[in-house]
Symmetry: C2
Subunit: 265 residues, 2 copies
């Protein structure tokens, strides 16, 4: 059980390493390949945690939990149903979610388990798939809800979920994580809004990696957002969402208030 | 009017440069920034042309031509309707389209104009947008048609169009190209199947770049596939599709026959 992170220290240096009890041991090389300890140590409090990986794509599942599937009255799918979120949508723990310019509608959180791919894979079997999983992380899969069905002929999944800052990932990638005994818990301004067992999944992580690897080559650092369950809701400007999974950690992200956005611009 | 290409020479060296009358002047640096001529020359016949850019994402439009919109009986959209195709879906001219493993259904071609982004852009106006367009290319936006509506609750755009080899791009990126007076012509085994004026577009390239840059940051080398018009059809195994646009060039790609796939595997 190792917790891999990426970080930026105050002088701007970006690195990666292993987080243990507030101490960071820096590594160099390839997180997913030959990573070697540099001997340098950092304190977590002295650095900014970044998204723990830089995916070439985020594959985000819809309708992958029995409880939500039943609540929506939708049949369980026979293959993972997904959309693709672009690399620029990714942010790390603590980074602000930004409201799209010109969009005043509803913005929703979705707390999810994330699978991080460790090795390039194409057409792998479910039995082989675990060997291609580097570890697991927390995801807040953010949606500009009012855009999804704006056009009657085309559900705009990629648009409504693909905005910059709409894929919150972190705080760490946990290796050898036992998802079968964990819950995803989502808090909105400290009030619990989601708390569901990951074991209620329709497609397990190994099934997802196998089936999606038949749809496209998955690359090291790519992320599969496993889909959410009941309790999805909207975020007011200035509110903070924390997605946490016991054994991985807590992923806090605030929807920037309008005033903060003006200052940042 | 410059034709930028990427190529691989027989010893495996991958480079980029300017194609002029069968001669390639190699450049180094950044195609979209400080590119300088190396002085090296190659003959087009001696090298393999690759996809002329390596997008971080392909943004592929649906319902962007009046003629097809009217044929389908769908209203023109108020904002570009798009899905995202992953980087691994991209191939260059002459590379084989590969049938997905385990999929025996219909595979369709769509001949399209492609916009190649030259500078990182977010929230640009239509008036500014042309300054962010590096040039134009030809696209064959390939689809595993039978998967699109396999699930009654979720149109699988990203899955059916996101397979490896399903975004054919090339042969060149043409700068200062006047799309207003050009047609997209698609030939299937030398029979013309599409021939439509690009001027029939619902959203012009500048409008697309502006509106999509409000949805996500576009990066140098990213490609917008402008959508297709009437004449879409299916490709038999072993058949070759050539998408050509006068002033850009011709993009040939064969759907590999089963026997070829076995040999390659």
């Amino acid at each position: 059980m190792t917790s891999w992170i990426r970080f930026r220290q105050p002088q701007g240096h970006i690195g990666f390493g292993v987080l243990d009890n507030g101490n960071i041991a820096e590594f160099e090389g390839d997180m997913f390949g030959d990573a070697t300890a540099t001997g340098k140590q950092w304190q977590q409090d002295d650095v900014e945690l970044l998204s723990p990986c830089l995916p070439t794509k985020v594959v985000a599942l819809w309708n992958n939990f029995h409880a939500l599937s039943q609540k929506l009255g939708k049949a369980a799918p026979s293959h993972p149903l997904f959309l693709i979120k672009p690399p620029m949508s990714v942010i790390g723990p603590g980074a602000p979610i930004r409201r799209p310019k010109g969009y005043s509608g509803k913005i929703a959180y979705e707390g999810e388990l994330g699978i991080v791919i460790g090795k390039r894979c194409t057409n792998v079997s479910p039995e082989e798939a675990d060997g291609y999983i580097f570890g697991y992380t927390c995801i807040n899969d953010v949606t500009a809800v009012d855009l999804l069905n704006e056009d009657p002929n085309f559900a705009q999944w990629c648009r409504s979920k693909g905005f910059d800052t709409f894929s919150c990932i972190g705080p760490v990638i946990k290796t050898q994580f036992d998802w079968r005994n964990a819950n995803v818990v989502t808090r909105l301004d400290d009030v619990e809004r989601q708390n569901y067992p990951i074991s209620d999944m329709i497609f397990t992580p190994a099934e997802q990696v196998s089936m999606i690897s038949h749809d496209m080559t998955l690359m090291p650092g790519d992320v599969i957002a496993c889909g959410t369950s009941i309790g999805v809701g909207s975020i007011k400007d200035g509110s903070t969402v924390v997605v946490s999974i016991d054994g991985i950690g807590a992923l806090p992200n605030q929807l920037a208030a309008a005033r903060q956005l003006e200052t940042a611009a």
